[in-house]
């Protein structure tokens, strides 16, 4: 059709979105590459370029390594726990192994609708050693001498992981459910005729056919894990003793509390490089041809 090949009109339709997108996404991201090589206190547009100085400083900064370690810890733990739980739940729901599947499908998704801020405050209450529900529940069983949860460095880290899992499982469960529902029933019937039980049909039918979805999952989990900010900032503010500090909270602290804008951007650059290369690596490792069905 003639109208469709009118390039001028085509561009005009794209233009407003392009202006928004370039101004507020492309430009800041592009600038970040420059700023990460500069010393910049943000007072003026005067940037003093220090070459790799910021990176050198970062590699020698023990707080950076601690934040990186914590971030990696959160990402790895949630990255292992969330998909396993979500897979288990979605298989049980779609293969009708539970009564009330529809109810669980809906309620398990609830945490994904709530602001991370609200989740953080809610759990900050729930984990309060005095009146929080967790401690009170454990006391019912006569357990005394309970840890102070968010007040204890090791427990604080575990609690952040638990809350992250609580907040995320429903989302991945819905993703997997829709993928499993897309698998033709004949496959399961055929497996059944071959004498496969529920476990075998999961191993030989469901799991291989979810490979595409797994690629998506890994990227999501990486971005989500390395971007951990709201939960930690509200629940622990990186404490106690920086035990839950993440790269994101450290970036925020450096930029908007200490005014070290150049250095903060350098850390952000390292965050980007790590996330991006891990995403590429995982896609490369999972590159085997997609199963067609």
């Amino acid at each position: 059709m003639k109208l469709q090949s009118d390039a001028r009109a085509g561009w005009l339709f794209v233009l407003p979105a392009l202006v928004f997108y370039v101004t507020f996404l492309v430009v800041p991201y592009a600038l970040a590459f420059g700023v990460s090589f500069a010393k910049w206190r943000g007072v003026s547009l005067h940037l003093e370029f220090v070459g790799l100085g910021n990176f050198q400083r970062m590699f020698g900064d023990p707080f950076y390594w601690k934040a990186l370690y914590n971030t990696a810890f959160f990402t790895v733990c949630t990255g292992l726990i969330v998909p396993v739980m979500a897979l288990y739940f979605s298989v049980a729901v779609t293969r009708k192994l539970v009564v009330g599947a529809r109810f669980f499908r809906i309620t398990y998704f609830f945490p994904n609708l709530i602001s991370q801020v609200a989740i953080a405050v809610l759990w900050w209450f729930a984990l309060n050693p005095e009146f929080g529900i967790l401690s009170n529940f454990l006391r019912l069983f006569g357990l005394a001498d309970l840890p102070s949860w968010l007040g204890d460095p090791d427990w604080a880290r575990r609690c952040v992981v638990a809350v992250k899992v609580w907040a995320a499982v429903g989302f991945y469960m819905v993703l997997y459910i829709s993928a499993i529902e897309g698998i033709p029933n004949d496959y399961y019937d055929a497996a059944k005729i071959d004498g496969a039980g529920e476990m075998q049909s999961f191993r030989h039918v469901t799991f291989p056919l979810l490979s595409e979805m797994m690629k998506v999952t890994v990227v999501f989990l990486l971005l989500n894990g390395f971007g951990t900010f709201d939960l930690v900032r509200i629940m622990t503010d990186g404490g106690p003793d920086r035990a839950t500090e993440t790269l994101a909270t450290y970036i925020y602290e450096n930029a908007f509390e200490l005014g070290k804008f150049g250095y903060a951007t350098t850390i952000a650059m390292s965050l980007f490089i790590i996330t991006f290369s891990l995403a590429l690596l995982s896609l490369y490792l999972q590159r085997k041809e997609a199963v067609e069905y």
């Binding site: 507020f24 996404l25 396993v84 109810f103 809906i106 900010f229 980007f272």
Partner: protein, 287 residues
Amino acid sequence: MRFNNTAILDRLGEHGRKTITQIIFVVYGVIVVFPMVWLLYTAFKPTHELFASAWSLPVEWKFDNFVEAWTEARIGDFFWNSLFVTISTLLVQLFVGSMASYSLAKYRFRGQGIVYYGFLAGMMFPIFLGIVPLFFLVKSLGLLDSHLGLIVVYAAFGIPFTVFVLTAFFRTIPTEIMEAGVMDGCGHFTLYWRIMLPLAKPGLTTVGIFTFISIWNEYILALVLLSSSHLRTMPLGIAVLQFVQFYEVDFGALFAGLVIVMLPTLLCYVILQEQITKGMTVGAVKG
């Protein structure tokens, strides 16, 4: 690990397995739902009752915490701020994004592919990478600490997802419909506005619901771009309230505030459940 130990599960037999599965589901269901239920009824308790007994239902159901949250703690103001920002973002993002998607799906011009994949690439960058330059950019445009600034930034960050979903959606609308429109004398914009946009309503609804939920809950950008207390959105307001009430050891308004921030999105979900779960998997799933 309980999920992988197939040997034990096999020995249990089918009936045993089903029972265990059911128990796990109920227990996890309680872990998900109970904290929210606890929050809900605790919001009707005065703080001293919370300290006296954390579990029990309020002795007397009182609405005072909600009144205090809404007026004194200014959650009411933050609620309207959030509503204004969310709806404005929704309108800007859907209008601008749908035009771009329509063009990318139905027009043909050089550089189209670069624009499309350029938009999608936006979903791959962590927000923190650009946060410092973004702050100064918004500042130099004179939009720092204003709702307008927040809205345009939100709309821009929403474009990748909007384009991703709506381009796929516009592609499914047959071109013959456009041809019929041209026969009737429609110009480029009339064709888009009068004919194509109404047909894209299901796609717009999906994007709309998701944008609503994510903007209503957004924290990082609001934290960085807003500083005046009267401009705060709900998540910012709640975060500040937590800080204030922690020192005053008076949590009533905070509990009530949490209930208020959670309700709109939960209600939205319960009503539009089907559409949300369907929309989530657009493009992520084959066929």
